[in-house]
Amino acid sequence: MDVIWLIPILPGIGAAVNGLLGIRFFSKAQSAAVACGSMGLAAALSIYAFVQLLGSESRVHDVVVATWIPAIALETVDGIGAFAVDWAFRLDPLSGMMILVVSGIGLLIHIYSTSYMHGESDAGYARFFCYLNLFCFFMLTLVLGANLLVMFVGWEGVGLCSYLLIGFWYQKQSASDAGKKAFLVNRIGDWGFVLGIFLIFFTFGTLDFREVAAGAAAMPIETAEFGVISLICLFLFVGATGKSAQIPLYVWLPDAMEGPTPVSALIHAATMVTAGVYMVCRNAVLFTHAPMVMTIVAVIGGVTALMAASIGLTQTDIKRVLAYSTVSQLGYMFLATGVGAFAAGAFHLMTHAFFKALLFLGSGSVIHAMNDEQDMRHMGGLKTFMPVTFVTMLVGTLAIAGIPPLAGFFSKDEILFQTFLHNRVLWILAVATAGMTAFYMFRLMAMTFYGEYRGPAWEHGEGHDAGEDHSDHDGHGAWHGPHESPTAMTGPLMALAVGAIVAGFVGIPAALGGGNAIEHFLEPSFTVEATEEAGPVAEAAGEAEEVHEVSHAAELGLMALSILVALGGIALAHRLYIRRPELAEAWRARWAGAHRLLLNKYYVDELYQSTVVRGTMSGGRGLWRFDGRVVDGAVNGTGWLTLASSWCSQLFDRYVVDGAVNLVGWSASESSFSLRRIQTGLIQNYALVMLLGVFVFVSIYLLVR
């Protein structure tokens, strides 16, 4: 287990190899082999580590690789401390679960990408896998990091990879714009994160998660006043909203769909975007000490979930729908953490990773089949062309809609239940969201796979019929109509579909007779181990269990309700988009205003554009002008003043000082008219004068001596 640091390093090596050598020298097969191989090793190692973790007594394993920043004296609230950071990695239940998710799904998506990205040039292919591996490196660093700064390394690193991968097709203006937007919005979040880190160090004198947790546990829960822990949590949550696309920083995620679809699946659905949730869970002890921030987190999560879901209702781009769905699901997770159900959040994180990755990959398969068409209005009827994709996507859809016994049901229901216990308003929001989720997901399914084919016509090439599986499709040749994707793509789809089905079984709630295994498994990550200091948390946990005990019945009722809501949504979608498509048109016309509002995503982008971006840019330009005119103007003005004064003094110089000089000169020149006769130009005359001088001196000598 001491080799857990190898888990991130392996993909890192893969990235380095592909980056330094692959782009120039490797064929596609070679780069794919390097990337998938390194990921496969990392995944194997992750499983090995996880198994060991399960088998060991201790739930926490730290590995310190090296000193990163050696100890430097720095004052904290408790006097002079030492600012020191190690390259330290930690395997505990939470990170164990995460590395499984990341490396597992990462591996699948790597495999998927080998086929999906086949249209790229060799160099582009290697570059893609380099980035993808690099992402996994940073993501695994993020989840394994034992202190905030190492986590921050991964945090920023995945941001970088996200930037690079979104902008993978950098020739596309929209892609590079989206990448930049993602990075910058994340940076805003990071601003909060780093301030949180600083404040944590200042408060606790350390950056190690467990030590911080221990320190926080020793402090009172800040129910009454907005204290330092609340501030820390607020800062951290700002960071989380950036990374996990919550209000107000969610705007980058839909745009990020400009990237290749596997990227969207891996980064913008399964792993990176959940880093915010992961981070909040990591600092669960801190957050439990800041109930006010918890409330904020819950509210933001809930509102985000609803808002994103509502936007998803009207989008026509298949990936955008999924993107908003992701935002919405992330809102769910924050809702869970906000109400104190960290385990539920983490659980949903995991299940979501499976089904959302599945959905994205499925959509990728569709897009691939449709020759890079993303607009659902130009799809339809694909069910017959690509059955595997259809089936797997259906599984994913059902999972996200919360249909039992698929994974989404258990995790989502857990969240709903916890929310219900905590806050009814939020619960209503969540339930509404669930309904919308079911609706837009089935709308997606309906528009894509059902109905008639609405896409462009294709040429019937010899030997290639529509729907025929042909793996030699490389995107360059003529398009021969929608078709099922090659095995390298359908394989991961099927694997993820299995995951989407079974992943929920680790968290069957007690009400259904399960043990909610995952909650207990994750428990140690959310509490401090030292029991004597863990009083409040333990109490809180105890309370929660009590509530569990009390309301098994209610829980079952709620489950039924949520299933009903989901089914309702599905039914509505079925009616509007499969049975009577014209009805959708009618509704759209009837609620044109609302539709436009949703279609334009509440104009948030425009709002940001006109305020933040424009403000910054015009501020920059204004300051530049200020710089040139005022600051530099002052400098040049000084210069000008100097010149002016020098001009004045030059006048003085010319007429007064120089006048006097000229007077002398004038008198000299006047007198020289007479005196110049002495200057005969005859050398001997000068010699004569010399001789005269000699004469005079000799005479003087003669006389004086």
């Binding site: 200057q679 005969t680 130009g681 005859l682 050398i683 001997q684 010699a687 004569l688 001789l691």
Partner: protein, 102 residues
């Protein structure tokens, strides 16, 4: 008078020197003037050697050697200038060498 002392040499030297001076003052041929200067340098050397003899020390002769070296340098450069001047003006008359006056 029959005993030759340093004074004799000095007087001789002074006379030689003054002849050189007169040559410089009187002649208009610049080559002659240069030669007059050589005469003056020689007078100086006589002086130096005479004193060297008087004080029984060769440093005077060393100085004379330096004077000769300087004379050689002067002659070389001076005659070069004369040649260059002659090439342009076709004269060596010092009274016509007055273009530097202005």
């Amino acid at each position: 008078m029959l005993e030759i002392t340093t004074t004799h040499y000095l007087v001789l030297s002074a006379a030689l020197f003054m002849i050189g001076v007169i040559g410089v003052m009187v002649r208009r041929n610049i080559i002659i003037i240069f030669m007059s200067i050589e005469l003056m340098l020689n007078a100086v050397n006589v002086n130096l050697v005479a004193f060297s003899q008087q004080w029984q020390h060769v440093v005077g002769q060393v100085f004379a050697v330096f004077v000769i070296a300087v004379a050689a340098a002067e002659a070389a450069v001076g005659l070069g200038i004369i040649l260059a001047f002659y090439r342009n003006k076709e004269t060596v008359n010092i009274d016509e060498m007055n273009v530097m006056r202005w």
